[in-house]
């Protein structure tokens, strides 16, 4: 099934930041997806030229606890960051319109996924637009009213570059299945917050579930971010086998 190209309708779009857009697709024959999976998108130019890229799914794959994420089984949402030198992302962020069609393959992936029956503590760590597949997991967690302890560390340049800010706040305030949320601002911090600074090993340990609780980690971001964070976690005694990583340009990245 995942090898087949299907025609999807663009049902709705919304900007998350000035350079990132969420695109809701209706895909006939889709029956949900796992949190953290990705899809391939294929665009065809009028002269027949085609380009394919992989994008992480942002929606939770289940009934969302918070509107507007209560999607039918045959819909999903992607969030695409526009890359200045990108070939496909500028079209998806700037030109694609509601009612347009494009081709989709997938959903794909059985490793960088969270299944809602898993009650192990989960630590999500996002660098920039790497938050997308982790948001899918946070949404799935809330939708399932999962008892699994969930914590997210989100490293971003500035408050304005954050995706899903209001919804993340709502997930953090959810009493049934709370998401413990920590932000690290690297260039510009909001008023009243500590001065911006890059994440350090010590800062990482203060904002993540300790090794004594044996959490599963899902880390997504740029390669230097993922390399640094996963290395610090191993140094701190976390088992490498419980650290799952994904990078831009890798599976489900946002090239």
């Amino acid at each position: 099934m995942s090898s087949v190209w299907r025609v999807a309708d663009v049902v709705a779009t919304r900007m998350e930041t000035p350079t990132a857009r969420t695109i809701r697709l209706r895909i006939p024959g889709l029956h949900g997806h796992l949190a953290g999976q990705h899809v391939d998108i294929r665009l065809t130019a009028p002269d027949g030229y085609q380009a394919v890229r992989s994008y992480s799914i942002a929606s939770g794959g289940g009934r969302g606890a918070i509107e507007p994420h209560d999607l039918p089984d045959d819909e999903l949402e992607l969030t695409v960051e526009e890359l200045a030198d990108g070939e496909v992302s500028p079209y998806l962020v700037r030109d694609l319109a509601d009612g347009d069609q494009l081709e989709v393959r997938g959903p794909v992936g059985g490793w960088f996924v969270w299944r809602d029956g898993d009650t192990t503590p989960v630590q999500l760590i996002a660098g920039g637009s790497g938050v997308v597949p982790l948001m899918s997991m946070a949404r799935a967690h809330a939708a399932a009213a999962s008892p699994a302890p969930f914590r997210m560390l989100y490293s971003l340049r500035s408050p304005a570059s954050g995706y899903y800010s209001d919804e993340l706040s709502a997930l953090a305030a959810d009493t049934a299945s709370p998401l413990q949320l920590d932000y690290v601002y690297t260039r510009q911090a909001p008023e009243g917050a500590p001065a911006p600074a890059r994440l350090t090993a010590e800062g990482l340990m203060r904002r993540t579930i300790p090794a004594s609780d044996s959490p599963t980690f899902f880390i997504c971001g740029s390669t230097p971010f993922v390399e640094a964070v996963s290395g610090w976690l191993v140094d701190a005694g976390h088992e490498a086998a419980r650290i799952r990583t994904e990078r831009y340009g890798g599976i489900g990245g946002t090239p």
């Binding site: 099934m1 995942s2 090898s3 190209w5 025609v7 391939d40 294929r42 665009l43 065809t44 130019a45 009028p46 027949g48 030229y49 085609q50 380009a51 394919v52 890229r53 992989s54 070939e87 079209y91 030109d95 694609l96 347009d100 069609q101 494009l102 081709e103 393959r105 997938g106 794909v108 992936g109 059985g110 490793w111 960088f112 390669t223 993922v226 390399e227 996963s230 290395g231 976690l233 191993v234 490498a240 086998a241 650290i243 799952r244 990583t245 990078r247 831009y248 340009g249 890798g250 599976i251 990245g253 090239p255």
Partner: protein
């Protein structure tokens, strides 16, 4: 032909005959890994081939470097749709490593430091088609790209070129490795677009 996106033109043309279907060219070298990068000292490194009889052929780092070395210029194709043309590698051909290996099994499972596995038929490792590579662009292979050494099987999608490789186990039948159990094709021919299940 697919659904036409009238506003989409695309900057890069796919008219290069070296580019398999559905691939685009990249000048960078993206990283794809399932977990943390294992740290492997060359002094601790070893590569083994294990046969059905339990024979273990083993090379430590110095023994591995003492084998005949080959320079390989090749195109590589990642399942996530990027291809990189004319990459330069140095390493040991699997033909060399299998010279004294006696096996009648036709399949292999490649094993890596960190626990990663991927399955490759033996026929795809022999005949000048595959190497254990330790250098990229004239430099030691970076850990995030699989250093000290990785498998290089460039005619298949690049997940088959297992990073941090430390051994091959001979198998009587094809069995799925790590990505193959997680949605990816058993064989992975980029020219046939064998990406997923």
């Amino acid at each position: 032909m697919g659904i036409i996106s009238s506003g989409f033109s695309g900057r890069r043309r796919a008219d290069d005959p070296r580019l398999p279907p559905g691939q685009y060219l990249t000048e960078g070298f993206p990283v794809l890994s399932a977990g943390p990068t294992p740290r492997i000292a060359k002094d601790d490194w070893a590569f083994t081939i294990t046969t059905e009889k339990g024979d273990v052929h083993r090379w430590n780092w110095d023994e591995f470097l003492a084998l005949p070395q080959e320079d390989v210029s090749t195109d590589i194709h990642c399942v996530t749709s990027w291809s990189k043309l004319g990459t330069s590698w140095r390493g040991v051909a699997l033909d060399t490593l299998f010279k004294d290996v006696d096996t009648s099994f036709e399949y292999t499972m490649a094993h890596s430091y960190g626990g990663y596995t991927t399955n490759v038929p033996l026929a795809d490792l022999l005949g000048g088609k595959a190497w254990v590579a330790h250098s990229f662009d004239g430099k030691d292979l970076e850990p995030e790209h699989g250093g000290p050494a990785r498998l290089l099987v460039p005619h298949l999608y690049f997940w088959k070129s297992a990073k941090w490789v430390n051994g091959l186990q001979m198998l009587p039948q094809d069995q799925p490795g790590f990505w193959e159990q997680n949605g990816y094709n058993m064989y992975g021919d980029p020219w046939k677009e064998q990406r997923y299940w």
